[in-house]
Subunit: 387 residues, 2 copies
């Protein structure tokens, strides 16, 4: 069913490896995978102009259905021309279904077979979200890729809860597919991805993969893997489930992550990732750099005339002494968080580009060994200086 | 004493008019006057990347000495390479002397002949600023144009207070000139401007012009004209004093202003202006447009698919439906304030470019009649819609 305007082509998959590079074609352009998608929760990558996002190397971005359903509302987005026009983003966009947000940020009142009733975080009013409604909203938003409405179990280690949520997710997927097809399906230029649940249980994950891939969709996601169950459990869950997904479809690991996550997940054959990490860390003046993680508010940066990251081509690193960035952060100038967010986006996209090249060359493990020990350590300049 | 690298050349001054256009040459480039300088109080035009500031049409920008003296401190700025490097700004920069800020925002404890003692707004510690120290700090900051340290009377209508402050300003100017010359004077590549005080009293303004222009400086400013004494009094003060300033030197009206101020002041022969208006209004979601002043949070904009200002070439107007901008402002996304700030900067600089062309063509009054009634009115789309 992957048909124009959508296509996915594995470009390279060295023998004996699960890692692969690919090209994911959408109505708004081609995405080189593995790819990281910056998150524009409320129709804006926080603090960063779209051209900076594109220059950082992003090709596909994400927006959050639940936030946009609350404000400005799906009808408003549609009337304003859809998300691409609202966000001034010419490339592909993906919207989540609201499922994760409903379970993670809202006061969930009732989960029933029909759907979820919860309180709006904006005004406290009662909201009701069903699989059908989640699809309708996403059709109004107009992203290239829309996600099925799933139930994300609160604790992926509680087997009974996970089993109930996973089976409900499968029934909800049936309803999502039906509603999406009623609204035009692929002819809308919007591809529906199914979401595999199953928590940290191999048999439930396996059953979920079977149920979800029984629908011939453009792509599939692994959900429920970034809800706080700890690194080891996350790793086990996606290490096990990723290779079960069809080889000829893009595999999206929702809510991942950080450099170590990318290496872990790409090695298992994952293709798409999203996380608020680069911009949230940026706003909080935390930088990812080739020399390690940085807290730019640290006094050690105050007189640094060199760049934040000597290996980075971003405007923050090439146009400012790191001490100037620190000053902007310290006094609370918006531009400090903006520049750090831009830097982190460059870092994430540049890392992903190196990962793609390494996968194609069969050198992913070598790149990991070369990069990870440095980037995941803490770094500050002139370690002899006082904090 | 205006000598390379500084020069000021009146380009056009139609017969019978005081308005003129000019070219102000600095070590970091030439400024076409009349010119508006955006304010980068703490070494950042709030929320706007430098390239957006430049693309908006700004050629010269301003930074505030007192704020930078408090954080990160003049030595830090100097060690980081000076303001141009810290702000990633290749064009000319002007720093105020801190005088206005000391009197307007700090708890002033003691004003003595030596200088001013006040409490730091950052940590409450006691600070002492003298004319000499204000010059030394500005030499560290490294702007192209630095300002004399003046005493700004709290109420420009209280004659006795104004007289005392004005005479002290003259004595402080003598000390500023001496210290500036000791530190290298023009050979530093930094020009000192004197500041005329005198409140709303013609004789005091006249005496102040005489005293300040007894120093042959690169340029002169009128101070104490935006401290809340009301439009009529401001207008009278600068209408009277501007033409008294030397014809062959740039005339800087400090802290001005808004479109009507520009028309008023340019007509009297003023050349340089600065104000936080475009960015402060932008952050508060207030826009200046060709159709009038706009509150973008107004519900009337919610479904507007057209641009905020159909006559504006800025990214906010050419790349976003106005309803999308309103959404960003309403939900509190930083990008809303950033885009509105950029728009307002385009508006101010484009207005100033039209004013320059009108002055050169002897059509300033006509442009004023054409532009002001529209831009100073309130505007919202579809007036029939409910607020």
């Amino acid at each position: 069913m992957t048909q124009p305007p959508f296509a996915f082509q594995v470009e390279s998959c060295p023998p004996g490896q699960k890692a692969r590079t690919g090209l994911f074609t959408t109505p708004h352009g081609v995405v080189q995978t593995p790819a990281f998608m910056p998150v524009g929760t409320r129709a804006s990558i926080k603090g960063v102009m779209p051209r900076e996002v594109a220059e950082a190397g992003a090709s596909m971005i994400l927006a959050n259905t639940l936030h946009l359903a609350l404000r400005p509302g799906p009808e408003v987005v549609r009337k304003l021309g859809g998300l691409h026009r609202m966000m001034d983003w010419q490339g592909p966009i993906l919207t989540d279904s609201g499922g994760y947000q409903v379970f993670s940020m809202a006061d969930v009142n009732r989960i029933r077979e029909d759907g979820v009733t919860f309180r709006s975080v904006v005004d406290g009013s009662a909201m009701h979200l069903t699989p059908e409604r989640a699809i309708e909203i996403q059709c109004d938003l107009g992203a290239d890729v829309i996600m099925a409405f799933d139930q994300c179990p609160a604790d992926p280690l509680k087997r009974d809860d996970v089993a109930v949520a996973t089976e409900r997710t499968h029934r909800w997927l049936d309803r999502c597919v039906t509603r999406w097809q009623e609204l035009g399906g692929l002819d809308r230029g919007q591809a529906l991805f199914g979401i595999v649940q199953g928590g940290c249980f191999e048999d439930l994950r396996r059953a979920s993969v079977a149920a979800v891939t029984s629908h011939d969709l453009v792509g599939y996601a692994l959900g429920g893997i970034s809800v706080g169950e700890g690194r080891a459990a996350i790793r086990d869950a996606f290490a096990f489930a990723t290779p079960l997904l069809p080889v000829n479809k893009p595999r999206y690991l929702m809510g991942i992550g950080t450099p170590v996550d990318f290496f872990d997940a790409v090695a298992e054959g994952a293709d798409l990732f999203d996380c608020v990490t680069p911009t949230r860390h940026g706003r909080n003046h935390q930088g990812f750099t080739s020399r390690g993680r940085v807290n730019l508010r640290n006094l050690a940066w105050a007189l640094e005339t060199g760049p934040l990251d000597p290996e980075c081509p971003c405007p923050a690193c090439t146009r400012y002494p790191a001490g100037a960035l620190r000053h902007l952060c310290t006094v609370g100038e918006m531009l400090g968080g903006t520049l750090l967010s831009i830097h982190n986006l460059y870092f994430f996209h540049s890392l992903m580009a190196r990962i793609r090249a390494a996968v194609a060359a069969g050198r992913l493990a070598e790149l990991r060994a070369e990069v990870l020990p440095r980037v995941e350590q803490r770094f500050k300049p002139g370690a002899a200086e006082a904090e």
